[in-house]
């Protein structure tokens, strides 16, 4: 007997995302910003099937030295509790080392999102040691502890190479207790379904990865957002409508308080501001105005309305997206 569904069985998005927010009395505006997210560009050594940015080896949009300088100047003007560097694969950007070294002096917490295997590239030589020296918090993608399941998202052989890199990071002290070197795992579903709850997933990963001699600090689960390459796959596989409907059906008003767009500002590879990496993918500018980081003198103003779209249902489904 299947679980009873809470679905209304109504057609998709009978109410737009904004209407749904209003119906629940949610006013989606910016609060105090504490995180600066920097997207260094879409160049990546992988072509993950869930990627909302369609990053890959064929992409040439990467952050220039001039934009890096503008980001550093902004981070010097305005203190952010966290600076979160993402891509693509940041490791593949020339001068990423000096960029990170300068950012590390400007924030209590510098975080880099890594696909792990980029750290095996020639371009990334010495980066692991630099991360350790700077005390960078690493957030590493590992969608499954099962090799074939992980590879179905990230590419053949990526899981095994990810395990090798995790071991190398552990050897450096990352993820080990009392080193202060934080190694977190990011888990996105390997298909058109929602992620498992974070807490039991973290326990299971700790147990499974321990068999490979791997330790890590914490684990975060994230919903796949139906944009970019993931959206294309959803359409091609006949899952798009049912996936979008599922996100609508699983709308959880309690997730609104933890939404990252309330407290994070994202800078694109070419220096423009967005309220999150998904709005960046769609070109939905922060404050609905195309603003360059060089024009920012302060934190983004509290109360600024956050532009939304149907993709925002992904951040409000189930436990939400923080």
């Amino acid at each position: 007997m299947p679980a009873p569904s809470v679905s209304s069985a109504e057609p998709l998005a009978a109410a737009s995302f904004d209407q749904t927010l209003r119906a629940h009395g949610i006013d989606l505006v910016r609060g105090r910003t504490h995180t600066l997210q920097v997207n260094t560009g879409y160049l990546c050594n992988l072509t993950c099937r869930h990627c909302h940015l369609e990053a890959g080896p064929h992409r040439h949009e990467i952050m220039s030295l001039a934009t890096m300088e503008a980001v550093i100047a902004y981070a010097a003007r305005v203190e952010f509790a966290t600076i979160d560097v993402t891509g693509g694969a940041p490791e593949l950007i020339a001068d990423i080392g000096s960029f990170l070294a300068r950012l590390a002096k400007l924030t209590p917490k510098l975080m880099v999102r890594t696909n792990l295997v980029a750290l095996q590239s020639t371009a990334a030589a010495g980066l692991m040691a630099l991360y350790k020296k700077l005390g960078v918090t690493l957030v590493a993608s590992l969608p499954s502890t099962n090799g074939p399941q992980a590879d179905s998202q990230r590419g053949q052989g990526v899981w095994q190479r990810s395990i090798e890199v995790l071991k190398a990071l552990n050897t450096l002290g990352y993820g080990q207790p009392q080193t202060g070197l934080e190694l977190d795992l990011a888990v996105n579903p390997t298909g058109a379904f929602l992620p498992a709850d974070q807490e039991p997933t973290e326990k299971r990963y700790k147990r499974d990865l321990e068999k490979n001699g791997i330790v890590f600090s914490s684990l975060f689960t994230f919903t796949n957002v139906p944009l970019g390459r993931f959206r294309q796959w959803l359409a091609q596989s006949g899952n798009l409508q049912s996936y979008q409907q599922m996100l609508v059906d699983r709308f959880n008003p309690a997730a609104a308080c933890g939404l990252m767009c309330r407290s994070l500002v994202s800078i694109s590879w070419d220096g423009y501001l967005y309220d999150c990496d998904f709005n960046l993918a769609l070109g939905l500018h922060h404050g609905t105005v195309r603003t360059h980081v060089t024009d920012m003198q302060d934190l983004p103003p509290e109360g600024t309305v956050i532009p939304t779209g149907e993709h925002c249902y992904a951040c409000m489904a189930g436990s939400g997206f923080t």
Binding site: A3, S144, P189, P200
Partner: protein, 110 residues
């Protein structure tokens, strides 16, 4: 082509309460409690649900518990092994009756 099973009906399961709401509510409350985290995790219970779904050969249940297993973090290796458990029990249940057959046949034969 029309069939007896319509995938869209799965989402209408709650409608079963329309003419017997109290009974339906008791069932759904019980159902929710059974699948909540307990001595077994929700993930383990979903794998059991998947195996039972194949035993009772309910298309709705197979649909629901395939999705549920994936959402709870299971992988295809685990899910396929769960279905083999179903198969082993079903096959074993047939085969073990062979003892009954043999006993009777031996009784009836010289």
């Amino acid at each position: 082509m029309e069939t007896y099973y319509n995938p869209a009906d799965l989402a209408k399961f709650a409608e079963i309460g329309k003419n017997a709401p109290e009974l339906a509510q008791k069932f759904f409350d019980y159902y929710g409690a059974v699948f909540a985290d307990g001595a077994l995790s929700e993930r383990e219970k979903a794998l059991i649900g998947l195996a039972v779904a194949h035993a009772v050969q309910c298309p709705y249940c197979i649909d629901a518990y395939t999705r549920s297993c994936l959402e709870k973090g299971s992988n295809l290796e685990e899910m396929t092994e769960a279905v083999h458990v179903t198969n082993a029990i079903r096959g074993g249940a047939s085969l073990v009756h062979g003892v009954q057959m043999r006993t009777l046949a031996e009784k009836l034969s010289f």
